[in-house]
């Protein structure tokens, strides 16, 4: 497949455009997705190709249009709803949790909601507490939803195409700081299976499980660690739900050490789920010390640049956590 370097933003757009060319039932709906091109420019140019019937600007009514997308999906369409900031997902909790996630089950399997909700999450932009959250763990907690959080342009395109094809509701987390990130992306459509993690860097000393923007922080940290002789194995989950336990366990059984790096707050974050799945499995016995988590502090995201950096995970904090795990917190078997 011929490929070229494009941004994450372009990769997301390319997936949407490809799906809309293939299937007249696919449409994009959201605030300012039309002539404005989306708050982060993801849908720029799509209105011109598909018209306002399929690239639909909505009033500021997140529950209303997400609810509409659920109904359209229930009768066989393939809606993509864009939420301008993932914080606004709070407006749609009934729609996502009580409706989209439950319909199939409540109806005894006689119905499906093939909808994708795309939304940028995460901090680092100085947007403060109501425009910077990482709330993806909430949806990992809801059976009936799938949660995807790609970190590269390649994965963004392949996973979004899979999400649009998927007969279930998929919450597709993008990140504001990833939109300009470039990477090799094939021109042709391709699908990456939902639910498959990827080892993006091999190593023997420690397994670092991560996803989304944090994947890049972890890779940076892994390079720094490598220069001091520590080889981290980096696992990009790509999908948070369903979680690829098997891949995580394989890596942990190889390295014997586990660190999770997540951007959401630590308490009840999805990293806790990763750790639990490892320690309640046979892989527990492969660990030679307690696992660790690097996450945001349990506070709202502050505005001031230094304060924001203080509470967020950084590559330096990842390096520090790995060193601490390897050097300080030696387990009883070490």
């Amino acid at each position: 497949m011929p490929s070229r370097e494009i941004t994450y933003r372009e990769a997301v757009r390319e997936a949407m455009v490809g799906a809309m060319r293939e299937d007249p039932d696919v449409f994009l709906m959201g605030e300012d997705v039309g002539v404005y091109g989306g708050a982060f420019g993801v849908s720029r140019g799509m209105l011109e190709e598909f018209g306002e019937e399929r690239v639909v600007d909505t009033p500021i009514s997140e529950a209303g249009y997400v609810g509409l997308c659920i109904g359209a999906a229930l009768v066989g369409m393939r809606p993509i709803a864009e939420l301008q900031f993932s914080d606004f997902i709070t407006h749609c909790m009934d729609q996502l949790v009580n409706q989209a996630a439950k319909i199939r089950y409540m109806f005894g399997g006689e119905g499906r909601v093939p909808m994708v909700v795309r939304t940028p999450g995460g901090a680092g932009t100085g947007a403060a507490a109501q425009h910077s959250q990482s709330l993806e763990a909430w949806f990992v907690h809801v059976p009936g939803l799938k949660v995807v959080m790609p970190s590269t342009p390649y994965d963004a395109k392949g996973l979004l195409l899979s999400a649009i094809d998927d007969p279930n509701t998929v919450i597709f987390y993008e990140h504001k700081l990833l939109y300009n990130k470039k990477g090799e992306v094939p021109e042709e459509p391709y699908r990456i299976p939902i639910g498959e993690a990827r080892v993006s860097r091999g190593g023997e000393d420690v397994t670092v499980v991560t996803a989304g923007l944090m994947h890049h922080y972890v890779l940076e940290a892994a390079e720094a660690l490598s220069s001091t002789g520590v080889e981290a194995e980096v696992m990009d989950l790509r999908t948070l739900s369903p979680m690829d336990d098997a891949a995580i366990r394989r890596s942990v059984e190889k390295t014997g050490r586990l660190i999770v790096v997540e951007e959401d707050v630590k308490t009840a974050g999805w990293g806790a789920e990763v750790v639990s799945r490892v320690v309640e499995s046979e892989s527990f016995y492969a660990l030679d010390r307690a696992p660790a988590r690097v996450a945001a502090a349990d506070v709202p995201i502050p505005y001031n640049r230094d304060l924001e950096a203080y509470v967020r995970p950084t590559p330096e904090k990842v390096v520090e956590a790995v060193r601490s795990l390897l050097d300080v917190h030696k387990g009883v078997y070490a």
């Binding site: 449409f27 019937e53 909505t58 009033p59 009514s61 529950a63 209303g64 249009y65 997400v66 609810g67 509409l68 997308c69 659920i70 109904g71 359209a72 999906a73 229930l74 009768v75 066989g76 369409m77 809606p79 009934d94 729609q95 009580n98 409706q99 319909i103 199939r104 089950y105 409540m106 109806f107 005894g108 399997g109 006689e110 119905g111 499906r112 093939p114 059976p143 009936g144 799938k146 007969p167 279930n168």
Partner: protein, 318 residues
């Protein structure tokens, strides 16, 4: 039209709904069903009147008080009874119960346990019809209680700006659980709110089937002509409590009996007698037949198999 103007059939549909819910109420009282249910007794003319105006291909969404909507839409009372009893042969294979009966393929897009929960869904179905150039409409039943939810505002506005073929049928049964409509809203009629969205708002006597039917028909004509949604308020009353836990502390016996005197079934039977469609008192025979039909449904449902325990883990994902 759904029942091809067979007026005796409309009466029969109301009776089916009434006897179904009265039977379920009895079963709860006897402790023979678990969970909860919300009874439609007293409101039957709204569901039957509105649905009678629909055509093949139209869809509805329903509420937590949804048995009457499902029956009027043509769902099978045997499978509904089986669902209430939690059997494998029920509409939801025992996973949904009273509040989630649906037949998506037939166009009954589900009862809904969340107040206002189906108002987005109905717009989506209407959106799909419009996008696909289909001549269908989507009809949303909801209570006056839902009219104070945020989703009411959002969806009426969306339907209006996009001229979606939706009929918003507000069943104003006077109470959101114990909260009376007088205490909960400052306008006299919910339909007045339609003006805020630039759509027609109509209030009809929900106890009169023909009024509901005519108003729905008119709204459907507008919808199919691409002129957008209508807010249709039907003034009605639920005779039984909100759910099985209700001790009726917020209303009087006198009020309930006053409404029972305007009973929609009785009224419509009298109309049919006046038209000569039924002999005087003949409807009592129909009533007895329908009651028997419902008894049979529950008796049969009681013999249906329970779902396999492992089936509880299925159908989370497609």
């Amino acid at each position: 039209m759904k029942y091809d103007n067979n007026r005796v059939e409309l009466l029969r549909q109301m009776l089916l709904s009434r006897h179904f819910d009265e039977k379920v109420n009895d079963l709860y009282a006897e402790g023979k069903v678990h969970g909860t249910a919300h009874f439609y007794v007293g409101q039957e003319s709204v569901a039957v009147g509105a649905i009678a105006a629909l055509k093949e291909g139209d869809v509805i969404t329903s509420t937590h008080r949804g048995h009457g909507h499902a029956i009027a839409f043509g769902l099978d009372v045997d499978r509904m009874a089986a669902e209430l009893l939690g059997q494998a042969t029920g509409y939801c294979h025992g996973k949904g119960g009273s509040m989630h009966i649906a037949d998506v393929k037939a166009g009954m897009l589900g009862a809904n346990g969340i107040v206002g929960g189906s108002m987005g869904i109905v717009c989506g179905a209407a959106w799909a019809f419009k996008r696909r150039g289909q001549d269908h409409a989507a009809l949303c039943f909801f209570g006056e209680g839902a009219a104070n939810e945020g989703i009411f505002h959002e969806t009426l506005n969306l339907a209006a700006i996009w001229k979606l073929p939706v009929i918003f049928v507000c069943e104003n049964n006077q109470y959101g659980m114990s909260m009376s409509v007088e205490k909960a809203t400052a306008v006299e009629n919910i339909s007045e709110r339609a003006a805020a969205y630039g759509m027609p708002g109509v209030t009809v006597a929900g106890t009169k089937l023909d009024e509901v039917y005519e108003a729905t028909l008119e709204a459907l004509e507008r919808a199919r002509a691409g002129e957008g949604p209508t807010l249709l308020e039907a003034i009605t009353y639920r005779y039984l409590g909100h759910s099985k836990s209700d001790a009726n502390l917020y209303r009087t016996r006198e009020e309930i009996s006053m409404w029972r005197k305007r009973d929609p079934i009785q009224q419509f039977a009298t109309v049919l007698e006046g038209e000569g469609a039924l002999e005087e008192g003949e409807w009592r025979k129909l009533d007895a037949q329908v009651k028997e039909r419902i008894e049979e449904a529950f008796e049969k449902a009681g013999k249906e198999p329970d779902p396999e325990p492992e089936s509880a883990l299925e159908d989370v994902y497609a």
